[in-house]
Symmetry: C2
């Protein structure tokens, strides 16, 4: 399989309407991206797939959706106000600011070095909080300061009791959420890999203490299988254990699923953490109330442990698109295609009259009207049929339906399959059931 180089890939994303720079006509804004007509469909399909796997198909997980702005006490309790920070240094002469990590081994906190931009002297390293802050109400100041959430997870922890009560759950059970989060990254980059605004899919799975290590292993396996089930090739994925030094303040053990990106290294696409009882206990203390589960077997109130599979939609988007990218030679010409799994493809069916001949328009519109209510469909009648097939290949459309002059005689159409390019003749009356069989869900 081919991995595209990043430039080719970013250009395809823009040219075909997957991803645009945010506010591009104003020169953009670093770390923020927009999803175009095809991008939003792919993104929605990824989210739907995750929700189906994590919520609909499971007995033991429910969803929620919480606000991005929360009571700021949440971030005191979670530790984000104190510890969610990167060490930074400033240049005393050109005033540029850098992540200390990026300058290593040039600079460290004890021995500041010289500015890579101008050679000036650097300040000592200081902590810079990654949360965006804003103000609620008419007065700006400390009393009205709130934050844009840097993770969706706290929405689940503060609703632990609400969910427990309203759904009458027993341990183990999970709470899942999909939603935007914000981190004021100093060095966003690698296209949509590290953004300042991004979308997360997180699930907090509450278990009896003592069963946490076993559940952690089960979730690592389960999540790895989810990725390969999406069609991502096994040899491009790996599992990496966090070292003691890189563990988050709340974590007993964290494992990353990493993908071999074309920008040069295996990088995290999902983290599965054992958050222990850290968050619930912190909220108990800061909110001054108990957040416990009554265990009938032991007749005790206990604070559950938490296993958290957490991933970014944008990184998943990048991964599945890159992994689906392929170049082939077909009859001496290069064919670019996205071998996206059917359920993720933005457009499922392209309806393609052989030409703009006026006799072909009525049956083509009739086919469109049949197919569109069932599947995301695109109608395309511009340029030669060969070019239109290539256009659909390049955006990953699994099936093209061609209406030709024979259709006028036999009331049948041709289905062309993206990967094999095989063509099958099907009566119009059977078209939807035949497509439905090959496009479940």
């Amino acid at each position: 399989m081919t991995q595209p180089n990043m430039d080719t890939f970013v250009s395809l994303c823009k040219r075909r309407g997957f991803v645009f720079q945010s506010s591009e006509i104003y020169g953009g804004i670093g770390g923020f991206w927009d999803y175009g007509p095809l991008g939003v469909e792919l993104k929605n399909n990824i989210k739907r797939n995750w929700w189906r796997a994590m919520v609909q198909l499971r007995d033991d997980v429910v969803g929620i959706e919480t606000s991005i702005v929360m009571n700021p006490r949440v971030w005191e309790a979670s530790g984000h106000i104190q510890t969610f920070a990167d060490p930074m240094v400033d240049c005393k002469s050109c005033k540029h600011r850098f992540r200390t990590d990026d300058l290593l081994p040039v600079a460290d906190a004890s021995a500041p070095g010289r500015c890579p931009d101008c050679g000036g002297e650097l300040t000592e390293s200081r902590m810079f909080n990654l949360m965006f802050k804003t103000f609620v109400g008419p007065v700006e100041g400390d009393a009205s300061t709130v934050y844009l959430r840097p993770e969706t997870a706290q929405g689940m922890f503060v609703n632990f009791e609400n969910v427990l009560t309203t759904t009458r759950r027993k341990l183990p059970f999970g709470i899942a959420q999909i939603g935007r989060s914000f981190r004021n990254e100093i060095t966003p980059g690698n296209f949509i890999f590290r953004d300042r605004e991004f979308e997360q899919m997180e699930m907090e799975f509450f278990v009896m203490p003592g069963t946490d290590e076993e559940w952690h292993d089960r979730w690592i396996e389960d999540r790895f299988n989810w990725w390969t089930g999406l069609g991502v090739r096994k040899d491009t994925l790996r599992i990496r254990e966090h070292t003691k030094e890189e563990l988050s303040h709340y974590s007993k053990r964290t494992v990353d699923i990493e993908y071999d990106f074309p920008f040069g290294c295996f990088s995290e696409v999902e983290g599965i953490a054992n958050r222990t009882d850290f968050d619930l206990k912190q909220h108990e203390q800061f909110a001054g109330r108990t957040l416990r589960y009554f265990d009938e077997a032991s007749n005790q109130q206990i604070v559950p442990y938490v296993i958290e599979p957490a991933m970014g939609v944008d990184r998943c988007f990048l991964t599945v698109l890159i992994d689906a990218y392929a170049e082939e030679e077909v009859r001496g010409e290069k064919r670019v295609l996205l071998r996206l799994p059917h359920e993720l493809a933005p457009i499922k069916v392209a309806v393609l009259p052989l030409s703009r001949n006026e006799q072909l328009v009525p049956p083509a519109r009739r086919v469109l009207d049949l197919v569109r209510p069932q599947f995301m469909t695109q109608y395309d009648d511009a340029q030669s049929i060969g070019r239109r097939y290539r256009r659909q290949d390049e955006i990953g459309t699994p099936f093209g339906v061609t209406i030709d002059f024979e259709t006028l005689e036999d009331e049948a159409v041709t289905i062309r399959e993206r990967d094999s390019m095989e063509q099958t003749r099907v009566p119009i009356t059977k078209l939807v059931p035949v497509l439905r069989e090959r496009l479940p869900g």
Copy 2:
């Protein structure tokens, strides 16, 4: 039909897991709400329904998804920095702040009155901007100030050219988006009706100038039909024309669809505005580039006019829930039910073994495994079957499937329909197709 009083309704929403106060364990935060396990499903179903109607089923509309934080020049061009503000007065003695509008006729800009809280003297009225601001990058200050979008619409305008180019569209065509927006409202209220963080569904429909008034009328009709198609009763909806005084700065004509809420008045649930060419022209000027459409017929570059149907997901959620609420007397007992349209119901099917008898568990789990991959399903075996039916009625579940001792003999189950309470016996092998017929989509 019954309309619930707001207290009863808010309490149902909390008790059954539709809506919780955000950060409730910390005393909440005004104007921010969370959606519980049932709420998030209903919200997703509303969004899916809108997307299907506005994007999937139409030839002339595509979707996008843009970032919440945009280049701040966008809000200079759109007029939001200058004009998106409410007039406010402060009390000189107790320092409380009020919307000038709320104090009328007590106070106006020319003749400030006395504070309603302490009787102190009020300042003159000043404008207070409703956009939340934050800072990007490590330095806080004017140069790094950005805003949380107060509407999704500008995401479409700044991407007009990107969408036009990548989708090769002809006028008229539309760009649709669903996403969160933020307004620093001084007086949020009426439950989730007026929030500081909310979700919008907006569509910008670009048309040839001169055809805008006709398209405006078509969209008003189309959108009204969407609401009644959702099952909202016609006599609880009305269409109201904006007066000249209340028109937004960009609007030539705006029409609201209003719902008769139990908090005492018809209030806006959707606005359909003729935004003219205001936004595109402003962006042309501020970005210093043309944002035009080449019209082949007249051989001219033109700036399209825009018709915008814009609504809030949260208000739609409130409307459909209130409108679906019903109380009935059944055999001398009160039955509370939500007559939600099937496509919006959070749970489609409840699987209910008659009791926890161990003989019933295996067939009940077998039925669950059949149904769950097809529909959002809930398994409930706690308490009497009568109470479980009532629980499902109260959350709007269209179908209950009961597994009883006869099932052990005849491999059949009983389907109970929510509204009529009619029961039908169906073989397990036919269950999914029978449900599928009554739960399309």
